[in-house]
């Protein structure tokens, strides 16, 4: 029986410049206790849908048609009083950013108690007791004490637990989850997902899970809908949609992310051309038509496309039956022959002296990067990977230790004390596309300045010519030089940033989470571009990332860091197969894969990452390690265990026992 039936819901935003349609006609059914996942990129109307369901669209948003049937009411036309009875009581939301979803000046207890006080008319004391119960259910450490805390006193993961507790307090029939783990670390994300699964069983709540992360949806949803430009373009069971996608967009999304276990030598990523259309510029007919390889003029752009397909697997495409899955294109990338080390880090340390104590951001880093390879540094927040990038690029100096680039010591020299050649040789691509370009200057200015300072050109005509070359290098038209950053999409900005880094002749390109802020469909284009340029120029890439799929795909060598120390290092293939460092094992098992049939061994880390101001004395990972041997781990720094193929593991557990675990991934997924 259907719990929620959304039928032909139409939502518009009325602005000064006219009305734009956010949802042109959305239909979705959720059964009691069912878990439905909605996948969509930014701007596809996910959040509008959630807010429309609770009629919280702001002054500009209007529901202009359709119905939202829920427990015998039509929420699209219900009175404010009826809505208030549903909100927070029958339908509750878990928000994307828990830090801003909580009121900073009210205690957790007061905020939680409001729910039973409002909906069950409980007195304050009883409401607080109930809040403590639910906090215990979400595994909040010391729930009684947490009631009197303020939000800023909790970690990100704990705040999300509080938000989940708040949503569950009234025992709702339907829980809406709006990107609930975005911004959390991988291991924390996995714990939150597990928690939601556990609570779902206990509270018998239906879930509507909204995310851009295909892997996450594959892990949590029974049934999956794919949204594009405000419409549902495909809907089927999770297994079906990931195994046999029908809509060209769904297929594109799956081809744009690295398949589990795939690497750059085995398969190329297939980007979807173009960008998600803005609401104001919706194409006539199929919304995906301008980016679709199977577009047929006169047909796809003729008028609105209805849902078709078969029972249980519906698809909004006129040509779904004829289009066949394109075979994964072969990779153009060949493994480079091993070369000499270009960058060598020896016992590199960076200590920040803070009022609260000494923060060891980097503590004895030892590793090397070969010429022309991709070295990935993996770790969660606080691991010190970004600090290393700052030292390498010369934005900061190390406290002690050595970092040699092409034989020259650079650890103790900032950019201003490096030679012009050294500065141009080490460049960086930053994480956030919105902050990477100066909004006050045109693209041509930014590139021209880089050409002048890094490429050493002085002549105006030569600079202009070089800027055009750089734009062509990143597949952008020469006219883009007149654009301001705010006119560009995230992917375009990131490509400009790559062009800027290649203005000189960089021998090392530091890429700090280069695609994590981009939509899935444009990530592939940027990854391909980075790889192509890096291979063509023979530069070394130092990739900093928490995305293990991407790392597996891109990296030749991997370094796993935790709290400023290296846990494990070695060739990429070796890192992703046993023997694992227990931390790497946990990371791998936490990483969501776009394959609902893949049930990784569950290895969950307890507690929070310790404060880097006060790390454990022995192994840094001891306080959370599921395989901890005993006090030896807490007190003695772990020995180095080394295998024949250059795979290094810092752990007290002997290699044989580290090797004797089942792989997190099935062997066929690891071996090409």
């Amino acid at each position: 029986m259907a719990l929620l039936e959304i039928e032909d819901l139409r939502v518009e935003y009325r602005t000064l410049r006219g009305a734009v349609t956010a949802l042109p006609g959305f239909s979705l059914t959720i059964g009691e206790g069912e878990s439905v996942g909605l996948v969509g990129e930014s701007g596809c109307g996910k959040t509008t849908l959630l807010m429309a369901m609770l009629r919280h669209l702001g002054p500009a948003g209007v529901i202009t048609g359709g119905a939202i049937r829920f427990e015998g009411r039509d929420l699209a036309h219900a009175s404010e009083a009826d809505l208030a009875k549903v909100r927070g009581s029958r339908i509750a939301i878990v928000y994307q950013e828990p830090a801003s979803a909580l009121n900073p000046t009210m205690t957790i207890g007061a905020q939680l108690a409001e729910v039973p006080m409002q909906h069950q008319r409980l007195p304050r004391a009883a409401a607080l007791a109930r809040a403590a119960e639910v906090l215990a259910d979400v595994h909040m450490p010391d729930p009684r004490a947490a009631l009197s805390r303020y939000p800023h006193q909790l970690s990100g993961g704990q705040k999300q637990r509080v938000v989940i507790a708040m949503a569950l307090l009234a025992n709702p029939a339907l829980l809406l989850l709006d990107e609930p783990t975005t911004g959390l670390d991988v291991t924390v994300e996995a714990a939150v997902i597990d928690l939601i699964g556990e609570l779902r069983a206990k509270y018998r709540t239906a879930l509507l899970y909204i995310s851009h992360n295909l892997g996450l949806i594959a892990r949590v949803a029974d049934r999956v809908g794919v949204m594009y430009a405000g419409e549902l373009v495909e809907e089927a069971t999770a297994v079906e949609i990931f195994a046999a996608p029908r809509h060209p967009y769904t297929r594109g999304l799956l081809a744009a992310i690295p398949r589990p276990g795939a690497s750059k030598e085995t398969a190329a990523l297939l980007p979807i051309p173009g960008t998600v259309p803005s609401l104001a510029h919706r194409p006539p007919g199929c919304g995906f038509a301008p980016r679709c390889a199977h577009f047929s003029p006169g047909l796809c752009d003729a008028g609105p496309v209805a849902m078709a397909g078969t029972e249980g697997h519906r698809v909004r495409c006129l040509r779904w039956a004829e289009v066949t899955a394109a075979p994964a294109p072969p990779s153009f990338h060949r493994a480079a022959p091993p070369t000499a080390a270009l960058l060598e880090s020896r016992d590199l340390c960076k200590i920040y002296r803070l009022p609260a104590g000494a923060l060891k951001a980097n503590d004895g880093l030892d590793f090397a990067a070969l010429k022309g390879e991709v070295l990935a540094i993996v770790g969660e927040s606080g691991s010190g990977k970004s600090t290393f990038a700052r030292i390498l690029t010369g934005l900061e100096t190390a406290t002690s230790g050595s970092l040699r680039f092409a034989g020259a010591e650079i650890a103790n020299r900032t950019v201003h004390r490096r030679s012009a050649g050294e500065v141009a040789a080490i460049q960086m691509v930053f994480q956030n596309p919105d902050g990477t370009l100066n909004p006050s200057h045109a693209v041509g200015w930014a590139l021209g300045r880089a050409v002048r300072k890094l490429g050493g050109l002085r002549d105006r005509a030569k600079i202009a010519a070089r800027v055009e070359e750089l734009l062509a290098l990143v597949r952008l038209p020469a006219s883009a030089r007149h654009s301001r950053p705010r006119q560009l999409s995230g992917g375009q900005k990131q490509r400009i940033a790559i062009a800027r880094a290649f203005a000189g002749q960089p021998e090392i390109l530091v890429a700090d989470e280069p695609v994590s802020a981009l939509d899935v469909s444009v990530q592939a284009a940027v990854v391909n571009l980075l790889l192509a340029i890096q291979a063509e120029r023979g530069s070394t890439m130092v990739l900093i990332s928490h995305d293990l799929g991407l790392v597996r795909y891109l990296a030749d060598h991997v370094v796993v860091m935790y709290l400023g120390r290296v846990m494990e290092a070695g060739p990429s293939a070796a890192i992703f197969a046993p023997p694992y460092h227990p931390y790497t094992e946990a990371l791998l098992s936490a990483a969501p894969l776009p394959d609902p049939t893949h049930k990784p061994r569950r290895i969950r880390l307890e507690g929070e990452i310790p404060s880097p101001l006060n790390p454990p004395a022995g192994c840094r990972f001891a306080s959370r390690c599921p395989r901890k041997l005993g006090t030896v781990c807490e007190l003695t720094p772990p020995p180095l265990r080394e295998t024949a193929d250059g795979h290094l593991i810092f752990c007290h557990i002997p290699l044989e026992r580290l090797r004797a675990v089942t792989p997190v991934f099935a062997p066929e997924m690891v071996e090409p």
Binding site: A321, L395, F430, Q431, T436, L437, N438, H441, R475, R486
Partner: protein
């Protein structure tokens, strides 16, 4: 029933999609100034300001008596008359002419002093925010000390001890406004210094001066536009206040605040004499404030 499709190779199809989805670069959204007409409040303010600017520009060609010429005959009946549309002041000088010529003074002194205060304030704020450390401490403490003074008290002491002149008014505005501007600029700078494009500039070995002036300063523009308008209005009030307290532009120059002061003792007998210059001042300040409010509202809509 499916319509027939022309057979096309996969490569053709892909190329077609790429061509259709070819790099769309959005057209620029119109700048703040271009959107100004959409705010009625801002336009009302702009009209008031432009009215006074026009009046000030046209002062020499308008058919008015000299602002310093005394009409002794009119002194007996200083109210509005055919010869003096807004009447005359206690010395028999034409009020309308003095208001019109006074607009020239206020519209010159206020913008010049605010621009000068901005130059000093931006420099202080950029240095404090960019350099941090003891430079920041020094500049911020200095700003705190000056901002601790009640503004009018600061003006009165300053002008009373160095003497009233247009130049000294400019200096007083710089002294009192620059610390406040520096605080705003410092705050914005602290936010921008952390941005990646500044790190990218460091990675090009740009000089500190380049980073402050070329990378950071242009991005302060947005928040500062509103403050600039508000400060113009506020400075106009201040100049008038000084005039009213007898510390303004020295007579016989027509100064709106001074005109109110001279007419105040006659308020019981000839209230209009003080009202006209007061209304002139209010309308100009209102113009600046309305424009600031409209700009602020437009900026928030982004």
């Amino acid at each position: 029933m499916k319509p027939p499709f022309p057979a096309r190779s996969a490569a053709d199809a892909a190329a077609g999609a790429v061509a259709r989805a070819a790099e769309q670069i959005d057209r620029p959204s119109p700048s703040l100034l271009a959107r100004l007409p959409s705010s009625r409040i801002a336009m009302a303010g702009l009209c008031l300001i432009l009215f006074w600017v026009l009046v000030a520009l046209l002062a020499p060609v308008l058919p008015l008596p000299s602002p310093t010429a005394q009409d002794y005959l009119a002194m007996g009946h200083p109210g509005p008359s055919a010869a003096h549309l807004l009447g005359v002041d206690t010395l028999g000088r034409d009020t309308l002419a003095r208001i019109v010529w006074g607009a020239r003074i206020v519209l010159l002194v206020a913008p010049v002093s605010v621009v000068a205060a901005y130059a000093v304030g931006c420099a202080m704020g950029l240095l404090a925010g960019y350099c941090g450390g003891w430079v920041d401490l020094l500049i911020s403490r200095l700003a705190d000390i000056i901002l601790a003074f009640p503004v009018v008290v600061l003006y009165v002491i300053l002008i009373a001890s160095v003497g009233a002149s247009a130049l000294n008014i400019v200096v007083a505005v710089i002294l009192s406004s620059a610390p406040a501007i520096s605080r705003i600029v410092r705050g914005i700078t602290l936010g921008i210094v952390r941005k990646d494009f500044v790190a990218a500039a460091h990675l090009r070995r740009e000089s500190a001066l380049h980073i402050m002036l070329i990378e950071i300063l242009p991005n302060c523009r947005g928040p500062l536009i509103t403050d600039f308008c508000l400060r113009l209005g506020y400075t106009t009030i201040m100049i008038g206040t000084l005039g009213f307290l007898g510390l303004g532009i020295p007579p016989p120059a027509p100064d709106w605040g001074g005109m109110v002061q001279e007419a105040t003792p006659m308020l019981i007998v000839f209230p209009l004499m003080a009202l006209f210059p007061a209304l002139a001042l209010i309308s100009l300040v209102l113009g600046f404030n309305l424009l600031a409010d409209g700009l602020n509202e437009l900026a928030q809509k982004d």
